[in-house]
Each structure stands twice: as C-alpha cells, then as structure tokens.
C-alpha cells in the first residue's frame, strides 16, 4: 500500500529522535552507571538555548548553527556542575543519584519557568527546514531529515571519540574496571567529569534539534526522558551499538503499530515490547562479556 514507504520513513525519523535523546544517556548511564533523571532538563536547556539564539540572531540558519554549539556547551556545563557538586559524592550509590537527579530535574524545571515563563515559546526554524522535501513523489519533513542526519553524525562522532582517542580509551577503561584504570594512572575522577560533560552536552544538541519539531516549555524534557531510558536499557547498558539498534527498532515498531491502531496504543505497545524483551534478555540487546566476578 501507498503508506508503506512514508511510514518506514516516519519510523526511521522517530528512531533518530529516540537515538538523539538516548545518546547522551548511554554515556552517563551506560558508561558511568549514573541514573540521571535530569537528562531531559539538559535537553530543555538546549532547546531554550535555541530559543535565545533565535531571538538574538536574525538569520535563522546561523542561529541554529550557533545554538547547536552553544547548546552543547550550556548543557554540558550544567552536567559538569551536577557531577562536580553532587554526583561525585555518591558514586556507586545509584539509588541516591536517582533521587538527587530527580530533585535537580524539578529545580531546573522551576528555574526555566521563572526565567522564561510558563507559556511555551518556540525557536523559529530556517525556512528550508520547515518546508517539505520531495522524494519519490512523497513529501517529507526537511526538519526531520536534518534530525536524522544529525543523529547519525553525533553517533559517528561519539563512536570516533570512544574508539580512536586516548580520552575514549580512558572512558572505556574506567567504565570496564575503575580500580584497574586508577592503578594504571588514569584519573578516573577527571574522566568521569569529562564523560558527564559529553553526555550532557549531547543532550543539549538533542534539545536544540528537537526544538525544530515542537514548542519549548519547562517540561520539554519530560516527553523524552522515559523513552530515552527505555532505549538505553533495551539496547544494553553501555553499548552504543545497542542504543542505535534499539532506537530504530522501537521507532519503526511504533510507527508500524500506530498505523492500524492509534497513537496511544502505539506508545503503550513500545513499553510492552521492551518489558517482555527484558524478561528474556535482562542484559539488553548487546552486552559485553566481562571477567568481573560481580
């Protein structure tokens, strides 16, 4: 049927949004084991950055470009602050970080409400991204295409950092065996800070990108946070590859299920799929075999 192609595109687009939202989390949650409930608020910070730059800079395309960079830095610094001030004091206490970051998320939401007001605002997107592009006779959202490409770029960049740079090796080493990394001369504390900065910064980029599709309000991040966790857990904690596969599988599944049913059922079905999947494979899609005795 004629809707097959556009629905596949919709599914891939949804997948890329999930991926973008989950990517930063797969670093902070995956590599460091921190359950950061404030991740969504870092996305919100990115989205508000896009709003602020759009009010300052007249050229919408330039504004978006600037927002992507500034959003990364702003959200990254927020993350760094959170890590230095609070999370550093509670390494290996996942329950405490769960609650503390939840509190931080509430504080950040209220802060956004005080600064920007409760009324939603929006960042004006470049015209090229709000108009449709036509492929094979079908019209698609150029904004969504941009988000798709951006998510792939972010994954590639993160992958390159983790696999090819000394910093990446240190992050992976710390994540695999903190004690051994420490005795090998790695300052795990610094590595943690950098990891958290990167992960939060990516959330900022996600926020800027997703502001293209939506209005920006203090609860911007809450829409994405649960699904982001879902992707990371289903993909296998700490596994970039897993997160990528899980995002696209869930994105496609959602648009496939939503087509004959409804949006509400589509959303519910995703949760159901993941819950059932985790019963059979609690370690997630991709897992590393480790010699750890734990």
């Amino acid at each position: 049927m004629g809707m097959l192609f556009p629905q596949i595109v919709a599914g891939l687009s949804n997948g890329s949004i999930l991926l973008l939202a989950a990517l930063g989390l797969s670093l902070t949650f995956g590599q460091m084991g921190v359950i950061n409930n404030a991740h969504g608020e870092f996305m919100m910070a990115g989205a508000y950055t896009a709003y602020v730059t759009s009010t300052i800079i007249g050229n919408k395309a330039v504004s978006l470009g600037v927002a992507l960079v500034v959003g990364f830095v702003v959200a990254g610094l927020l993350g760094l602050l959170l890590d230095v001030l609070l999370l550093e004091r509670m390494r290996n206490r996942p329950l405490d970080t769960l609650l503390v970051t939840f509190g931080v998320s509430l504080v950040l939401q209220q802060l956004a409400r005080d600064i920007f007001g409760a009324t939603p605002v929006y960042a004006e997107a470049p015209d090229a991204l709000t108009n449709p592009v036509t492929v094979f006779g079908y019209s698609f959202s150029a904004g969504r295409l941009f988000i798709f490409i951006l998510s792939i770029v972010c994954v590639a960049a993160l992958y390159a950092v983790l696999k090819l740079t000394p910093l990446g090796r240190q992050i992976r080493a710390t994540s695999e065996n903190r004690d051994l990394a420490e005795v090998s001369g790695i300052s795990t504390k610094t590595v943690d800070h950098i990891t958290f900065f990167l992960g939060s910064g990516i959330a900022g980029i996600a926020g800027v990108a997703l502001s293209l599709l939506n209005s920006i309000s203090f609860n911007f991040g809450t829409t994405f946070i649960v699904q982001a966790f879902l992707v990371v857990v289903a993909g296998g904690v700490g596994q970039l590859k897993g997160a990528v596969i899980a995002s696209f599988v869930l994105g496609l599944a959602q648009s496939a299920i939503e087509l004959p049913t409804s949006a509400s059922i589509g959303q519910m079905a995703i949760f159901l799929i993941v819950v059932v999947f985790l019963q059979f494979r609690p370690q997630g899609l991709v897992s590393i075999r480790s010699r750890n005795l734990a």
């Binding site: 409930n37 996942p94 769960l98 605002v121 959202s141 599709l213 939506n214 949006a263 509400s264 750890n292």
Partner: protein
C-alpha cells in the same frame, strides 16, 4: 561494590524507573481524577444545609467570588479570565455598582486541580458568603464544582465553551454550547463543499464528545469521516497521524487538540506539504493567545470556530479591547474565554437588577430573557437551560496573529446543550439522557 555490579543494578533500576514512570504518567492521572471527583462529591454531601442565606445584603457592598487557577498548568489561560472578570467588576463599580452596592471580589486559586476548585467554591459560598461565583475552565473543574453549587443552592457563572450535555439549575454557562461552536463550524465546512473530514484531538473528554457530535452531523448531512485520531495529552509525535491524514483523502480537518500538541501537529502538517487552501484545519481551541504560542507561521490561514474575536467590528468590542489593553498591557490580546467571562459578570448584574434582589432563587427566576450588548454582539439568557444566545463566527488566522471573521451565523443562535432540536443528533441526546 564493583563498577559492573553498579552498572547492573543501574540497569535494573533504570528499567524499573521507566515502567514506573509510564505507569504513573497514565494511571496516576486517572487515579487523581477519581479522587478529585470523590472529594468534590464529599465536599458537596456534607454541606447539605442551605448556606446561601448567609449572604449579607445589609451593607453598601456585595461580595462575589472568583475561582480561577492562578497556579499550576492552567494558570496561563485562567489568569486571563481572572483579569477580564476583575475588569468587568471595576467597570460596574465605577458606575455605581449593582442595586446601589459596590461589588467586593474574593479571589480564590483553583490551582488547576478539580478537587481544589470544589473546596474553594465551598469556601466562597459557606465562609465568604458570596452572592455568586465566577470561574472554572476545564470541564473537570466544572464537574467537580457542580455538586457543591447544587447542594448549597448557589450560583456559578462558567465562561468556557464546552462539550454540552449538561444544564445545572445552579450554573449559568456563558460560553458556547456545542450547537453554537461545533455545529456552525460543520455548517461552514458543508457550505464550502467539504465532504471528507479527518478528526484529530487530544485523548480526553472534550475532543471525544465533540467528535461524537461531528460524526452524527456528518452522517446526517452527507459528509464522511475518513479518519479519527486521538493522541495522549502532551504528545508531540504526529508523523503517523499526518501520514494517515494525507492518505485518507480528507478535504478538511477538525482539530480539538489541546495546548502544546498543536505546535507539533501544525509543524508536521506544514512540513508534509499540506496547505490551508487545499486541506484546511478548523480548530476548536486555538484563540488569539494560542496563536502566538504556536507560532503564527504554523497556523496562518487556518480556520477557527469561536463566538468572539478581538477583531470584531462593533463599538462595544472596540471599547472592551481598548480598556483591556490600557489596564493590562498593549501586547495582551483579547479572546473568546475572556470576553465570555467579562460578559457573565454583566449578565449576573442584569439578572440581579431585574430580580431587584441578590437571592439565588429570585435571580434564577429573573434570568430568562436578560440581555447584554457584549463585545461579541447582543447576548440573551435562556432561562430554560441557563446557556446564552450567542452569535457564531468562523475566523481565519492572519499574519498579524489575530483572527478575522470569514463567516457568521444569522444572528444569535438559541443554545441547545443536548442538541435536541437537530434530527441528526437524535441518537446522541437519547444516549446521554438515558445515562
């Protein structure tokens, strides 16, 4: 504890958090509502004594109560209603008050919670001894307050257009009944030759009920509903819905989405190549304020159905808009719910003056036929169902962020909350009354 164990625990906790959050966000809301309704009912039942008699009419002031959400999610909208209510009272006081008494306002915060609305209404009636209460916005807030007003035989003036199927002897509804908003919107589409409708709405009471009316109308008027989609509140993913819309062959969209969802929907609609001149969207809950929040670029040239626009060209409205801006700021738009709230204060004044009394029963008895030259045009109270005769306007959203009338009904429409006078709606009203 080793890192990998921490990571495993983390994974489990993460999964648990996901499921928990999902459960809380869906079931939690439903549960809250039942409690709210229960509390409202409790509040009503223990106040069985007739407390309306405590209204003090001896002094040279008379108390009325406002109950609006000044905090919580509804605050953005309800603050504007509170503002226009205050403006009406100030105007009336400047001209000598009601029956020679100055109106004294007791403002309460409904906090966007139906249970709080019920509690504050009870306070206003029984502790503050007000002669009438103005306010409420969501249908759930109205439904929570209804038993309180009926038990205490007090008066509520409710300003919002709503889904109908209600007519309490203790509530005056100054917003549109479905036959004054939804039906004219459909009449307009029919007149313009649109035959295939696509319905999109948020998943809650107003869109579902409104769309039942739309479906009945379509069936009785040779139109076809080619799609009906609901999204969870606050949903921002409209790719599939817009795909369905494009492939449904629809020639018009009836939109009952709420708040933020409109932004995502209209962006997706625009990005998929749909246009207002080929497949127009007629919206039931986008007024002047929402246009700026959604972004005028996304909704320009789309249609709305209301009973008032800031751009209406009559003397009363010009004064109303000028005074409102002078009082609250030049950048503040005026909208249907605000105008309706403003009008409700004058209607109460008219009823009291006709009854020559603040007594609830006397006011109710005098209500029939009370008129007011409102900014929306002349309105008249229907004593039978407590709604008001209103003119319906279909508007087009302009690039100036205002809405411009493109069609209006032949004069004020008689309110018919149960749609009893429409042949095609027979099954609807029958269904409701048997409930």
């Amino acid at each position: 504890m080793t890192t990998s164990r921490a990571r495993k625990i983390g994974a489990r906790l993460g999964a648990a958090a996901c499921v928990l959050a999902a459960v809380l966000s869906t079931a939690g809301c439903g549960w809250g509502r039942t409690v709210a309704e229960k509390e409202a009912a409790d509040a009503a039942s223990d106040g069985s004594t007739n407390a309306a008699s405590c209204v003090d009419t001896s002094g040279d002031t008379i108390k009325v109560g406002f109950v609006n959400s000044l905090s919580g999610t509804m605050a953005i909208s309800e603050q504007t209603v509170s503002d226009s209510l205050h403006m009406a009272v100030d105007e009336i006081n400047a001209k000598g008050g009601v029956l020679g008494k100055k109106i004294q306002v007791v403002q309460q915060d409904g906090k966007s919670e139906p249970a709080v609305f019920a509690e504050k209404a009870k306070t206003l009636i029984e502790k503050e001894c007000v002669a009438a209460v103005f306010g409420g916005w969501t249908s759930s807030s109205r439904k929570a307050m209804l038993p309180v007003f009926e038990a205490d035989n007090a008066l509520l003036f409710y300003p919002l257009q709503y889904e109908g199927m209600e007519a309490s002897p203790n509530i005056f509804y100054s917003g549109a009944a479905p036959n004054q908003q939804i039906v004219p919107a459909l009449d307009y589409l029919k007149e313009k030759g649109y035959k295939k409708l696509f319905l999109v709405g948020s998943d809650y009471v107003f869109p579902q009920t409104a769309n039942r009316v739309v479906k009945a109308y379509a069936e009785g008027n040779g139109m076809q509903v080619v799609g009906e989609e609901y999204t969870p509140m606050g949903s921002t993913d409209f790719t599939t819905i817009v795909n369905k819309l494009k492939f449904s062959g629809a020639d018009a969209v009836v939109n009952t989405l709420n708040g933020d969802s409109n932004v995502a929907f209209f962006k997706e609609y625009k990005a998929s190549g749909l246009k207002a001149d080929t497949v127009p969207v007629i919206s039931m809950s986008i007024a002047e304020e929402e246009v700026s929040a959604i972004g005028v670029d996304n909704v320009k040239d789309q249609l709305t159905a209301w009973n008032y626009y800031q751009t209406l060209d009559n003397a009363q409205n010009k004064t109303f808009v000028k005074d409102f801006k002078a009082k609250y700021g030049q950048n503040r738009p005026t909208s249907d719910p605000m105008e309706s709230a403003y009008t409700s204060v004058y209607l109460w004044k008219g009823m009291v003056e006709k009854a020559k009394s603040f007594d609830v029963d006397a006011v109710k008895k005098a209500a029939d036929g009370v008129t007011f030259d409102a900014p929306e045009g002349r309105v008249k109270v229907d004593g039978e169902n407590h709604h008001i005769y209103k003119t319906s306007y279909i508007g087009k959203i302009g690039s100036d962020k205002l809405i411009h009338t493109v069609w209006k009904s032949d004069g004020p429409i008689k309110p018919d909350p149960y749609l009893k006078t429409y042949d095609w709606a027979k099954s609807l009203s029958a269904g409701v009354e048997s409930n």
